[in-house]
């Protein structure tokens, strides 16, 4: 096995152990309203997965996708279909105990990965037309695909259609969400620093020049879509199993837009920027809930604020909070080392 893979796997093992520790600790702290904070923390995690995965497509590979919610929906419904119709009834036949618990975790992981794979296939399908389109045309096509996926789900009665699917088993928790947060960050990080990442960069900066230099732009654009949508699917699966409810209305265009705001705010192409922006925006969103109550507003001001943030950002700091650098780069510079 290669050196970096061993290191990453060891890292994931250590992180998993720490996460298990934290989740027991979180369950144990006797703070009133802990359930609420727990929900905020989990939402932050899911948003981080969304932002970092969209950043692979929009930031690193420079393909402006507006259909992230569609991939999320594919993942959410696929994994929920598996757990709701197959795994949950099967688990119910088993006796309570550690064996069943372990099996449940394993099956849930399998369902999430299946959801991710289904979303990845959807990403592959969406990525194909992107070979011929660039910029704003691609944006509108991905948006269209997202809508098509939503309309298709609306029409499948087996998974609830417009009524939504309620009673999705509550398998997702703090551990699983942050486990995948770590995975998506590590994968994204390794990807950027690999030959694939350099190809992404070349495609983003100048597609024609990249093609002339022998980069198979087609291959890399589709690859970016597949990887990004795989993790969007995982995020969708986690969301469904955390909220125990799914509804096609959850995956509207506005959801894609939220993910875009996070990526743009953090800085397109910056992994830590996406993480940072996901945290800031999710927390700000919770804060706005109080604003709404305090002023007695009838509608949610959060989309208005998102919109204003986006417009001002383009005027004042179009590269986002971190540009395409990472948080670590700022500290490294201060030490005076040259890059």
């Amino acid at each position: 096995m290669r050196n970096w893979l061993v290191r990453d796997l060891a890292g994931i093992a250590v992180i998993s152990a720490v996460l298990v520790g934290i989740s027991y600790f979180l369950g144990w702290i006797p703070i009133p309203g802990m359930a609420y904070y727990n929900r905020v923390i989990v939402t932050i995690g899911i948003n981080i997965i969304l932002a970092v995965s969209l950043n692979i497509i929009n930031g690193h590979a420079g393909q402006f996708s507006m259909g992230h919610a569609g991939f999320m929906a594919v993942g959410a419904y696929t994994s929920a279909y598996l757990t709701y119709f197959h795994f949950q009834p099967f688990l119910a036949t088993l006796a309570e105990g550690p064996g069943r618990f372990a099996l449940q975790q394993a099956l849930f992981l399998g369902a999430l990965l299946a959801g991710g794979a289904a979303a990845g296939i959807a990403g592959w399908v969406v990525g194909l037309p992107s070979l011929r389109l660039r910029g704003d045309y691609l944006a509108i096509v991905t948006l269209g695909f997202g809508e098509i996926i939503r309309v298709l789900i609306l029409n499948i009665d087996k998974i609830g259609g417009a009524r939504g699917l309620s009673g999705v088993p509550a398998f997702a928790n703090f551990f699983w969400v942050y486990f995948f947060v770590c995975i998506v960050i590590i994968v994204s990080w390794r990807l950027v620093r690999s030959q694939v990442g350099r190809a992404f960069l070349a495609v983003r900066e100048d597609e024609i020049a990249a093609e002339a230099m022998g980069v198979n732009t087609t291959h890399y654009k589709v690859q970016a879509f597949v990887i990004g949508s795989f993790f969007a699917g995982i995020a969708g699966g986690l969301l469904g199993h955390y909220l125990v409810y799914l509804n096609p209305g959850m995956f509207q265009f506005t959801k894609s837009f939220e993910a875009i705001v996070m990526v743009v705010l953090g800085g397109m192409g910056s992994i830590s920027g996406s993480v940072l922006a996901a945290v800031i925006l999710t927390v700000a969103l919770e804060g706005l809930r109080f604003v709404k109550e305090a002023f007695g507003l009838t509608s949610d001001p959060r989309m208005v604020i998102y919109a204003i943030v986006l417009i001002l950002l383009m005027r004042l700091r179009p590269q986002g909070l971190l540009g395409n650098r990472e948080l670590g780069d700022f500290f490294r510079r201060r030490k005076g080392g040259d890059r």
Binding site: V151, S299, A307, L310
Partner: protein, 305 residues
């Protein structure tokens, strides 16, 4: 046969509204190479201005807010809405897009998305999130035509839309300003070097597009009578598809594209596929972009390095 004709007429009704919106998209895209996502929300504002205009003018004319149908009122409301949206279009361009003229295109695109959401959800805060019933500005008659019944509104929508499209056609191809517009759309820098005030041309293009959207908004309110702040999203996306279908940047293309989308949707709505109606425009979009990216009337342009 009757239902065929009926669907065709319904399709032309909604199609002419798509066409009015598509014209704004196609003009702005032709000049700035920007998908002005906020355009569909200008359409929504147009409908709401019609709603409030009807009440204001009724108050002025008869002293009560109860709307009495009539042509003078309809004309006033239409002009009011057109004026408001023209101003809104100007402000959009001046405040949001002009400072980004030399920025990367992705910045303009993101600004357009931001502006669109600002108008939608700002509209939700200002107008209220619940649907409103658009007042009957004109009396509704049932007309018999070749064995199908049409409402007089469908005819009015079509006629008014055609009038405004005719005016636009004249402006673009028959006036000096139109020539300047086509020059800017053809080559921005060269047009500026030839002494064309590009900023002014772009501003006026936005104003004209927004005015057409306002006409579309009032006509939509007239024939569908239910308006809400988020109604622009779907309609706008479909109108954009219409613009792409006709060949973006092409004025007659946008009209044909709008009518085609309207008619196809109308037939799909009557078929067993009716629940998939909202997806059909996007399927058309993807097919068009895959097989003929320049649209029906567009010219293919190779990417220049």
């Amino acid at each position: 046969m009757d239902s065929f004709l009926q669907n065709l007429i319904n399709g032309i009704g909604i199609g002419s509204i798509y066409a009015l919106i598509a014209l704004g998209y196609t003009m702005v895209y032709g000049i700035l190479k920007l998908i002005n996502f906020a355009h569909s929300d200008v359409f929504m504002v147009g409908a709401f201005m019609g709603y409030y205009g009807a009440r204001i003018f009724s108050k002025l004319m008869h002293g009560s807010e109860v709307v009495e149908p009539g042509w003078p009122l309809f004309t006033l409301v239409l002009l009011f809405s057109v004026a408001c949206c023209g101003l809104l279009g100007y402000l959009n361009e001046r405040i949001a897009y002009r400072p980004l003229r030399n920025a990367p295109r992705i910045a303009s695109l993101i600004t357009a998305i931001g502006l669109s959401f600002l108008l939608e959800y700002g509209g939700q805060m200002v107008f209220g999130p619940d649907p409103k019933f658009f007042p009957q500005l004109l009396e509704k008659h049932q007309l018999q035509f070749l064995g199908t019944s049409i409402t007089s509104h469908t005819v009015i929508v079509l006629v008014v839309a055609l009038i405004f499209m005719g005016i636009l056609q004249y402006i673009v191809y028959g006036t000096k300003f139109g020539r300047a517009m086509r020059a800017v759309s053809h080559n921005f820098e060269t047009a500026a070097l030839m002494g064309i005030p590009t900023d002014r041309v772009i501003s006026i293009t936005f104003v004209i597009g927004s005015m057409l959207a306002a006409v579309g908004g009032v006509l939509y309110g007239l024939s569908y009578s239910k308006i809400e702040p988020l109604m622009g999203i779907m309609l706008g996306l479909k109108a954009f598809v219409a613009a792409v279908l006709g060949g973006i940047g092409n004025v007659p293309g946008a009209v044909i594209g709008g009518l085609v989308i309207g008619i196809v949707e109308s037939f799909a709505g009557a078929s067993p596929l009716s629940t998939y109606k909202d997806a059909i425009a996007f399927v058309i979009l993807i097919l068009i972009l895959l097989f003929r990216p320049s649209g029906i009337f567009g010219k293919y342009q190779a990417e220049k390095v």
